[in-house]
Subunit: 662 residues, 3 copies
């Protein structure tokens, strides 16, 4: 547990640097990220490096006792490079190159940019790889930001064809896998295949999915190149990348596999405004963020990080980039920071030290205002720094690794597949995965978010939000785990090639759950379908409702499952076969929580009923309580002496930390 | 009355074909449409045809006693053809060619594609024109689907100039007809005229309307080319095209004039979701479709078909292509099938035999599921096949032609004109024509839908939804018919050149209805205007309201019409002059039905009050009753012995058929 | 006070012209605008002018006793010119040239078009500059219409670079001013700088603002060229341009500085439909327009016109160009006309004499219908002409200039800046400026709308809607004026280079109002914040609410301001320091009016409480009353004998005019 900050010495007069470093240290900050947008200052003229200012900045930070997170500056290639190699610019779906003038204006498939990136990364890694102040590295910045993963350039198409060739070997195999006979879309050679764009009506879904997979792989390849250069010149320094919440155009697991630290950039208010939440939800959590949003991402990145994950950028006040930008309530910066640690973070690093008075992000708050006074966020960071000392002093295992009893399977391809091939316009995978997660958290459960190929042993409950493609060994691994398993609708509904399984959904899962989904329907937003539990006392009363989607289930194996709930028209809504549970729809929050609670009990897990505002997390011997609500929350049955921070009464925007064995 | 199915042997292992044919026959299917997307299998390599598989498929279907509807495969030109002739691709309003990778990626004006189409059509017609199993032909597939009628290619502009030259002879005549003096848009030669696109503000409406007329004519010309080739090689086999509901970018009458059979593709649920209906209406008829939608289209295509019209593709279950795709209620596939026959269909052909597990439409249900089991739709089709036998056995004139007492004038140019020149943003012609039709149907009236140049003798009531351009002889023909005639607002409001008539609207209609529309106003969606009947008992009570539009009417001929209803501000809302009725606005449903009922009585027609869910149709000696609602409907005064299908109690999603002279 | 009309002889047979002129004169019209779209008739072939028809038209109008407003026809370059110089076409943000076929298809930066414009303007000015009937000139038509100010052509980029060079001298100065170090956007030379378009995420805001300033300057330069040519050949004839309400892509003050008459085109119904008003407001004022909309614009253009401003085009009936186009209530054309005179207009000129039966605007009403009968608007114009005679006869100073006690500062750059850099998506500057104006008008106050550099002496109350950039001398000039000054939120929040002021907002205003805005937040539409006055009797009751925005205020100078209202969370919502008032948010209408009323009283101004429908204006010795509402309004305490028009009871859509010293 430690604090960090993002710092841009190049934005400020050199005369301010020393005082900045001193004040950071005094505030309790231990690490400083720098230089991720500084290419034009490092290499102001092609081939001529200006190391002086950066040498001085790093020395100064190191002298102040701060550890530097050194970055590669490849998110912002300078104008001279673009002018020399215009093919660096990515090409949009409209066929036009995107222009210089902001950031991330590069194509992952551009050979020119790959070479230019190798050169600048090597130069920087050579110069600072062994600098005593440089403790960590960050590659690039926020891959995928501003929809920059998929490009339709000729360079991308060229590499896509190679990618296809490697995957399918022969074009006949591709034609079979995709089913191009439909609408005479058959190809006679890989060189006939273009990007799936600008077609008269929707392009072939298998073609589109492969293009997305390819584009994702290009990100991993590009990142790997940087990691290898850094490792070659800076041995022993962990390498991180800062992922951005829900920029899901590439597979974060695949990029994280090459890193030491998976970090992410946490902006609870901006995310609330920009994501799928309904307007009333956005108003409800306006100045706190949704109680489960940051947690969900903490658990996502914890799962893919070799070392403890970090929050590389923590929102310190209002941001500039959402449609509307409210100010956090007093206390929220502290709460968010502690929530990250409670979920296993190794570091929380605030973005940024001081608000810049110019350019695109001049309205983005920092720990300090542009006139260099400590802002609200800065004061809360100082409080957190003090509290960290208290916690660490009192608890040996405060930095313990986390392993939960509940796993939620989260997948990136699922997002792309449902986006490409939704069948119901608002079938938004991250939203549904998040709703499952949120229901579990409201029951007081700690959750590991894991990929579909994760080891599953040791879990008691495994929740699988709608997962169209399942690996062949998935059913066997689930069965071996001994856990109760809940599947969302559409799970197992597609093969890896985006076809319907020969035995119909759930395809490869029928070995553990002998269903046959013989029909589906998607429901428009103003349509729901009543649901009743089959063991209800009063069968004339609805227990909840279904929305978005319905799987119609039957089975060839008589008695192969028990129907636990039905839709109003009699079709099964929830069936169970031993430890395997299948939900044929998405339900309202209350019903979803009721079902998860039942199943958790079957799995031998205790649940709470925390409501919408209070959340609890456990790390090591400590239990953390967070109050996102408007009213104080009183904890029952905790010994007053057990509290490390706070007390039994947790005020709005307040936290409490207590020893579980207190 | 017979059933058909759409079948894609190329999608399935050849080993399945024989069983498929056998099961089709056993189900009661008599005709099978094939090959409309099979170009890449027929001509896998330029100039080298692979007839073997298709020969075997056709032989096998014929051997099973099935009649084949052979298609030209021009809706899906293969990749090699596009690569050789990139000018085949249509060009969008954004100036970019649309790409290969789905279907309909061709420009009707491309000389390359015209030639390539002639070649493949000739090859197929030569090979199968006299095959004993080939009983019918279909040209291409769903002209106009995916907005593919209008292209902005240089080839299209070239042909547009020729089209203009033929129409106007001199550019001076064009300048006068369009009124290009406005805004100095005058042309000095036909070669100065471009497509009306990408202008700074709206392009000239006459220019736009002519471009739409031209584009429509290009479709007719292209279809005619195919029909002529087929007729030359396959004499005596009727030629059809499958129109798609409300793909109105071309004049269906003009294409149908070259065909023997006008058929259409009926997807009641997909259409409900995709068309103009309000969200509450979409939820109301979610799993049945709107009670008048399929009927309207049956009546449209019946009117333009020389032989009895067909439903070439009948929705058999959930589809894949709407934003949301619900499942039909049990019974609806049967109901829809019988409704088509009741409206005069010769054949109802289901799309498709078996759901494909791959490509864009893998979520589109068939009569069989992808694992080759008979689906709900398949079972209902079998039931219909049995019922057909009962009906045909008992009723000599079950296949009688239909001629109604009520005609509704429906026009394609009207759609384009109001789209180009709406004056009120939501003035949606097909919607208003449909609302008029629906009101007539709720009154229990059978309706012929006819073009503006149709013979009108024999009708008692002729309803003319807003029809901006009327032929010079229209008034005389209407008067000669002796029918009562109802005009919607804006009728006669434009000349053929899209100018305001010299005598103001209703222009050429003033000979029968001496009005002068001296002002108009369009009303935004949250504005209505109260309407009162002039013969109302209580003149202080509103009888309904106007919406969307108001014509302000006066007349120079004193006493030339009677005012039957007024707007709240005193202006006439409905006037009558003898048998001619003019509605100055669009009214709410209740008022519209009340007025239509009154006028029908004046025309000597009996009306019923069927409400929103029940519909009645008459064909020959049989009366058909359809219940789209949630409650059973009981028929009065029908002898129990008269029923051929069903009884006096018509269940939800049920039908009844009885002899009218029973 | 006089009436005019817009006339298009080229649209009508020459045989009609003489009668038209006679009837205009008889109606009371004194001036006629012609020829602004007639280029293709003046120069039908390159270089060959056809003056004959225009000579005859002008002679005929002059002979009838009418004064001609002669126009340059540059808003509609003919096709032959475009074909010869395709670089005339402006380029859209999508990189595509916009096409010929409507109007305003030219790029202000095109050297070809600049030269062609010089040529046609010179030819016309030479021919008619001294014609006795030509009394005035109009340059071009509605600069900025259809979003035609900003072009992304290479010609524009070329001139932008020159403009930047002139502004910044060195590229280092530009880099510093913009802050391009952020995201490595630094430039090494002016020739590296492109238009700020098509970037991956938002382009640099300073770059964007400068591009907008440049584009605005191009309009002024282009207009100045025309004015200079006209003045050279037509000395003594005033030159006007017809601005369009809220086409704010260029600085109207800068263009007006080169003119004699600032005129504008007033379409109250079209504007209501097309502008920011909520649907219920659009329905509320459907057929009258918003009571303050035309007034606001009258006051805007009065302030920038050297001679009395004109309404160059006055809506005479329904228009064609809004999404929905209602008809004005009877009386509104008269009311609008008098309202213009009450606000200082020299002329109200109706658009157009007769409705054209062809082309884009065929549904736009005129004073006469297309069949040449006087329409409602024509009759009301005749009534106004008679009333003008009455008023002028009875009141020597009816044409007096207007100088109000209240000034509202209105700025064009503010619009662009908030559009580029909103921080809250719906921060719409013209809307907020209009709301402030509307509140003042509902209090019965007459308002001068002035630019930020206007002389301020003599005003008692100066209202400054959110004004991000303030000149350095603004605070001093405000203080010198002695007026009470009200600032909206965000005032002084940016430097001229679009940076945050070094001392934080309100930057240069801290000399008069020692605040520090240390934080801001924008509020989404479904969020408000309660506000309470600090001197409220019952501090538990809210006095209103804040919306859209909050400035968080503190101060280093203890006791430097009084807090007059607070937000629910305690932060100041309204503070006062002497005569300076700062509103930290936008408030609901009622609270805004209450605050303005208090402040007006402090400023020694009497206020009324006119409600939403009645408005009062004063010019010379006359007071004008306008009733936009549905109910009659009775004036108190006015002597019956004082009325020049109307009486104490002002009917709906009615007016009254009385001598204030009556």
């Amino acid at each position: 547990m430690r604090l960090g900050v993002c710092y841009y010495p190049e934005h400020w007069p050199e005369s301010m640097w020393e005082d900045d470093a001193r004040r950071m240290k005094a505030l309790g900050i231990e690490q400083v990220r720098i230089a991720e947008f500084a290419w034009s200052r490092i290499e102001p003229t092609p081939g001529e490096y200006d190391w002086g200012w950066l040498d001085r900045a790093i020395d100064l930070l190191g002298d102040a006792g701060l550890q530097v997170v050194m970055c590669t500056p490849t998110a912002t290639p300078p104008k001279w490079l673009i002018d020399r190699h215009p093919d660096i610019l990515p090409v949009g779906a409209d066929g036009r190159p995107r222009a210089f003038g902001s950031r991330r204006h590069y194509d992952f498939s551009s050979p020119s940019y790959f070479a230019a990136s190798q050169k600048i990364c090597t130069a920087i890694a050579e110069r600072y790889g062994k600098h005593p102040a440089v403790a960590y590295w960050q590659t690039d910045n926020e891959f995928g930001c501003h929809h920059t993963v998929v490009s339709y350039s000729s360079a991308a198409v060229e590499r896509f064809r190679e990618w296809l060739k490697a995957r399918y070997q022969t074009v006949d195999a591709l034609n079979r896998a995709w089913g191009t006979v439909f609408w005479s879309m058959e190809y006679r050679g890989f060189d006939e295949i273009d990007a799936p764009v600008a077609t008269v009506t929707e392009a072939h879904p298998s073609h589109r999915l492969d293009y997305r997979r390819f584009a994702s792989d290009e990100v991993a390849r590009y990142n790997r190149m940087q990691v290898e250069i850094i490792r070659a010149h800076s041995p022993g320094r962990p390498v991180a990348h800062n992922f951005m919440q829900l920029f899901t155009e590439f597979d974060h697991y695949k990029v994280a596999a090459d890193l030491d630290v998976a970090s992410w950039d946490s902006y609870p208010l901006g995310a609330l405004e920009e994501q799928w939440f309904a307007p009333d939800i956005k108003a409800r959590w306006l100045r706190s963020g949704h109680p489960d949003f940051a947690s969900f991402n903490h658990d996502v990145y914890r799962g893919m990080s070799k070392l403890p994950f970090w929050v590389m950028e923590q929102q310190p006040g209002p941001v500039n980039w959402a449609l509307w930008n409210p100010a956090p309530l007093p206390g929220m910066v502290r709460l968010w920071s502690w929530e990250a640690f409670a979920h296993g973070a190794g570091c929380v690093s605030y973005f940024r030290w001081r608000q810049a008075p110019f350019a695109q992000e001049q309205m983005h708050a920092g720990l300090n205002t542009p006139d260099n006074r400590l802002d609200v966020g800065g004061n809360e960071a100082a409080q957190v720094a003090n509290e960290i000392r208290t916690v660490l002093a009192a608890n040996a295992d405060a930095n313990a690794a986390i392993r939960s009893k509940v796993a939620l399977v989260y997948d990136y391809e699922a997002k792309w597949l449902f986006e490409i091939h939704p069948q119901g316009a608002d079938f938004h995978y991250p939203r549904f995965a998040f709703e499952y997660y949120s229901a579990l958290r409201a029951l007081g459960l700690d959750v590991d978010v894991v990929p579909v190929d994760a080891p599953l042993d040791g879990y008691r409950l495994i929740v699988v939000p709608p997962l169209p493609v399942v690996p062949d060994d998935f059913a066997a691994r689930l069965a071996r785990s001994g856990a109760h398993v809940v599947f969302g609708p559409r799970t197992g509904s597609k093969t890896h090639d985006l076809q319907i399984p020969a035995n119909l959904p759930p395809g490869a899962l029928t070995s553990v759950l002998p269903l046959r989904v013989w029909r589906v329907e998607s429901m428009r937003p103003n349509v729901t379908e009543a649901v009743r539990l089959t063991d209800s006392n009063d069968p004339s009363v609805d227990d909840g409702f279904a929305r978005h989607w319905r799987d119609f289930i039957d089975s060839d194996a008589a008695g192969s499952f028990d129907v636990r709930a039905r839709f109003a028209d009699g079709h099964p809504a929830y069936v169970q076969s031993g430890a395997f549970h299948y939900l044929a729809s998405l339900f309202d929050d209350a019903l979803m929580m009721r079902l998860f609670s039942r199943i958790a009990q079957q799995a031998g897990l205790d649940t709470l009923s925390l409501g919408e505002s209070v959340r609890i997390s456990r790390r090591g011997a400590l239990t953390y309580v967070f109050n996102y609500g408007d009213d104080a929350h009183t904890l029952g049955e905790v010994d007053d002496k057990a509290f490390v921070i706070g007390s039994r009464v947790v005020e709005p925007q307040g936290i409490a930390v207590y020893r579980s064995n207190g």
